[in-house]
């Protein structure tokens, strides 16, 4: 058993999987994971809102789970498997959830959308046939100031129906 140690100002080299590719970058241990993903690894789909875990804009998938990336630090992230909105569909295509968001007007300014799409990915894997209450409960972890949520709820329910028919 050993203890990993990183000195406060020492820039550490971090290797992780981002959207299926091995990537590495350097930063201080205390840097927020969301800032590292944006500014070191150019994953600009990670949006940074409140920076203390409340708004949900920075939600990403870490080892398959939807989590905040603003309350994790670079030093914690070595070796993890990260998926951001850039990795949810093949480049220049949309997945079923994204298609439903576009069709049902589930986004306006789009700031909260990447986080919500990451949450929905994990949520529908655990709950393939959600009811409206379950969708709203999951969405309570995201703040959207444009849509009033109704169109997002509709889009998620439609996408869930399409996906469960396919499978």
């Amino acid at each position: 058993m050993t203890t990993l140690y990183r000195a406060a100002h020492e820039r550490v080299s971090i290797e992780l999987t981002l959207n299926g590719q091995r990537r590495s970058g350097e930063a201080e241990p205390r840097m927020l994971l969301c800032d590292f993903l944006r500014h070191e690894l150019q994953a600009f789909g990670v949006h940074v809102g409140c920076e203390h875990g409340v708004c949900g804009a920075c939600t990403i998938l870490v080892d398959g789970r939807a989590v905040r990336s603003c309350t994790q630090y670079v030093a914690q992230a070595d070796g993890v498997d990260i998926v951001t909105v850039e990795g949810l569909a093949e480049p220049d295509t949309l997945n079923e959830v994204q298609r439903a968001f576009a069709k049902h007007h589930a986004l306006q300014c789009g700031f909260c959308t990447p986080g919500i799409l990451c949450s929905v990915t994990h949520f529908l894997r655990d709950t393939p046939k959600p009811d409206e209450q379950q969708v709203r409960d999951m969405l309570s972890g995201h703040i959207c100031r444009c849509t009033g949520y109704a169109s997002i709820v509709t889009a998620i329910l439609v996408a869930a129906a399409v996906l469960s028919q396919k499978s």
Binding site: R6, R65, A66
Partner: protein
């Protein structure tokens, strides 16, 4: 003459740029023994990081300025849920969503399973831990309330050894517990609930997932004549810590007519906080309403479960 110094940075992430917390040394021990040894050296200069759902915001806002952060989130020994003779032991690092998805918790500690959907949101439960919530001791947090109501125990480990503290004594005040600076909270012990017990957890918050203004947790077991055989009741968010209500006067009484009396009893003995979200009077009113709802729901469930088992 004043010379204007312009600092040039080669990258955006040069030292001190693009960071929010104070600079801290980062330690990631692989086992409990290493974590305990580290904490014993660093004492209150160190912060223990598990899920980071509370410590993260506090670091980012610089409410806390630790010299060292000890990350226990990858210690496998802290992530187990096991059944012993009388208790279920949950490692401090078990995430709230893993507990919520655990058949053991649903079967043996139903009150915790009922409390967890009220804790934060889907995305925060995916990382937030049971132990972190208890160690932080927010007065309105649901997991500490469920632990107090269940009569559970907190396991603390330091270089001096291991000790166990009853949940009802562990919480001293808002964010203050019996944990000493050199102790790590390693596990929680939850008494196993007999299958004929009914439980209920309910709360009022401004929005689901926000901190509770008031919350109530109840467990009840009924005798053959529908009299109260066993009763647990605790209130959260009202005082500066979760409080167990003394219910001895209600044992043996007919369960059907108990809820209103019990709610008045609880409302009369709590000593409510007053803050920006609610007045003391409002918290008393909520205590009354929530206890009545929780007791009625728990009695109904206990009645169903007993009849099904007979």
């Amino acid at each position: 003459m004043v010379e204007l110094v312009v600092e040039t940075t080669t990258t955006w992430t040069k030292r001190g740029r693009g960071v929010k917390p104070v600079a801290f040394d980062y330690y990631r021990p692989q086992g409990i023994a290493e974590a305990v040894a580290l904490l014993s050296d660093k004492g209150d200069e160190a912060a223990i990081l598990a899920g980071g759902m509370t410590l993260g915001p506090m670091l980012n806002l610089r409410v806390v300025r630790p010299r060292a952060v000890i990350d226990i989130s990858r210690i496998a020994a802290l992530k187990t849920i096991s059944v012993r003779a009388n208790v279920v032991v949950t490692g401090a690092g078990v995430t709230q969503s893993d507990a919520l998805n655990s058949d053991i918790i649903v079967r043996e500690v139903p009150l915790l399973a009922m409390a967890l959907p009220w804790v934060g949101h889907f995305q925060t439960r995916n990382r937030g831990t049971l132990g972190g919530s208890v160690a932080h001791a927010d007065p309105s947090a649901e997991i500490p309330l469920a632990l107090v109501a269940s009569g559970g125990t907190i396991v603390l480990q330091s270089r001096r050894g291991q000790r166990r503290v009853a949940a009802r004594e562990f919480f001293v005040g808002a964010l203050v517990t019996q944990r000493q600076p050199d102790e790590i909270l390693t596990a929680l012990e939850w008494p196993r609930s007999p299958p004929d017990t009914g439980h209920a957890f309910t709360e009022i918050a401004q929005r689901h997932g926000d901190f509770a203004i008031a919350a109530a947790a109840c467990g009840v077991r009924l005798g053959k004549e529908d009299q109260v055989e066993e009763l647990l009741l605790a209130i959260g968010g009202v005082e500066d810590r979760p409080v167990a209500i003394d219910v001895n006067g209600f044992l043996g009484r007919p369960a059907a007519k108990m809820a209103v009396d019990l709610s008045e009893h609880a409302a009369a003995i709590v000593n409510p906080l007053e803050d920006h979200s609610a007045s003391a009077d409002y918290r008393i009113a909520l205590t009354k309403v929530l206890v009545e709802r929780a007791v009625n729901a728990a009695v109904g469930l206990a009645w169903q479960r007993r009849n099904r088992l007979q």
